[in-house]
Symmetry: C2
Subunit: 325 residues, 2 copies
Amino acid sequence: MRRSLFLLLLALPTALLAAQGPAPERPPQEDRWITLGTRGGPIASPIRSQPANLLLNGGRAYLIDAGDGTAGQLAKAGVPANRIQAVFVSHLHFDHTAGLAGLLGLRWQTNAPNRLRIYGPPGTAALVDGLLASMVPGTTAGYGVPGTPQADPRGQVEVTELRDGATVALDGMTIRARSNSHYSFAPGSDLAARYQSLSLRFDLPGRSIVYTGDTGPSAAVEALARGADLLVAEMMDVEDTIAKVRLASPDLDPRAAAGMEAHLRNHHLLPGDVGRLAAQAGVGAVVVTHFVGAETGSPAHLAYLREIAEHYDGPVVIANDLEGF
Amino acid sequence: MRRSLFLLLLALPTALLAAQGPAPERPPQEDRWITLGTRGGPIASPIRSQPANLLLNGGRAYLIDAGDGTAGQLAKAGVPANRIQAVFVSHLHFDHTAGLAGLLGLRWQTNAPNRLRIYGPPGTAALVDGLLASMVPGTTAGYGVPGTPQADPRGQVEVTELRDGATVALDGMTIRARSNSHYSFAPGSDLAARYQSLSLRFDLPGRSIVYTGDTGPSAAVEALARGADLLVAEMMDVEDTIAKVRLASPDLDPRAAAGMEAHLRNHHLLPGDVGRLAAQAGVGAVVVTHFVGAETGSPAHLAYLREIAEHYDGPVVIANDLEGF
């Protein structure tokens, strides 16, 4: 019934439009992907918030990654934190997860009526357990009014860990997870068994959306993205990033610096990689997020689009925060 | 030497100015209080970030409270997270603490060279222990490059809990903490022994600044603020807030709703309370932050200033995010 009401509301502008001229070719879009934060971390940006995305579908709201600042970005999108049904975490780098502390805390402080489902890769349960442990002093002191009943925050969250190939059916959506190439642990090693970075596909009633999360080129991600209507892809200017890391951490241990450079070069998508992935998977459009590189106004920014277009001839947008697709 | 360089840099604009006309009456301000986030939580705002403040003194940078979004607000203020020397937490409500997860995580990801000192009320150690536990999966997986040395995040932070009357000497500043009236646990009770909400006074070489944190009217805070150059005070329109809480949580347990209303009425400063505190403590100026009420453009906003002015005739600013004082 809530869904019928929502569809009715969606139909209203169509009816008004139809009264003024020919009907639009497609029905109005029932779902929407909103980029809350479009900057890849870990160095915070003054103009883009940390990685976070909002998926609206059938009147329900979901987060896909939740970096620091997610609560404020949600407010800017007009969605209270208490309306979020579920969070999908792609991997456990803190630029993608730091907003969970605020989400859990602010929901607790406002007595969120529904239980938040958190889906994420192996390690997500331990992440959330730590956050819940961090909340104990705050929830025990509460609002400082003796005798006020207080919810146990452990009852306000439910974690499901996803591994490569996992499928989730939720509210009429099907979500599929594939392990990608953001980590390169030796196959069969303990770390490979324990940790995965995920790309996620959301098959909605009206559309399919694939979110790469953080990944290098990956056959698994290409298979996951095959035929998707929308590819939401990370993109990094690796040269530019290495220069910035060196500037930010001049005294970095040389082995750690070499490890970080190897990480950046092998575990992220360059503009050409985004174009090849989009072309080979045959997606309908590309939205670039988790963007790390030169901003609009720099010639390099246009060059990124040119490099993508060398491989892919569909529509491409390098998204800003709070844009909807 | 770093300090001398900073003073030299500060002196440069003065020298340039002096070449163009009479010297300014005062030496340039060596310290600055920057409001990073000026909205009291827990309901996030689209135009104000969650509570956080940046104190610059002698070339060093400190945070006073760190709500969700602190990393991004720091970037807007031009201060990398790695430059923060210490965080002072006033109390453990999550709108004041949720940004710590990002701060610790992003500093770990960028190999922060210095150890972050965190000062806060009783419970702060357990809060930080939980956050460090939440980081274990992320730091164990690291950047996914086998063989890269990784710092133990537990070595990157040092917690000091402060109780009523505590004094800290740090980098030429003296910081004093007083327990305020944001909590009203029965004196002698277990909760009163375990939890305190703090107001903080920063005596800098050039200036004294008192931060109320969250508090109701309090003789201890008035004593702490006596003669301060700057009073940074919370302020809440309680009627307006209760209406918003009811709207956000219509199905709230009636006892929890009554507890929250008691909390709001007794544990926060109304505009008149701010004016009385400023007048009785004889402060030099008032900056209002942790603001909850009608924004500029509403007649109620001007009324807040009028209510303060009924008691206090010094300068008053209701601060926006990223303003410096």
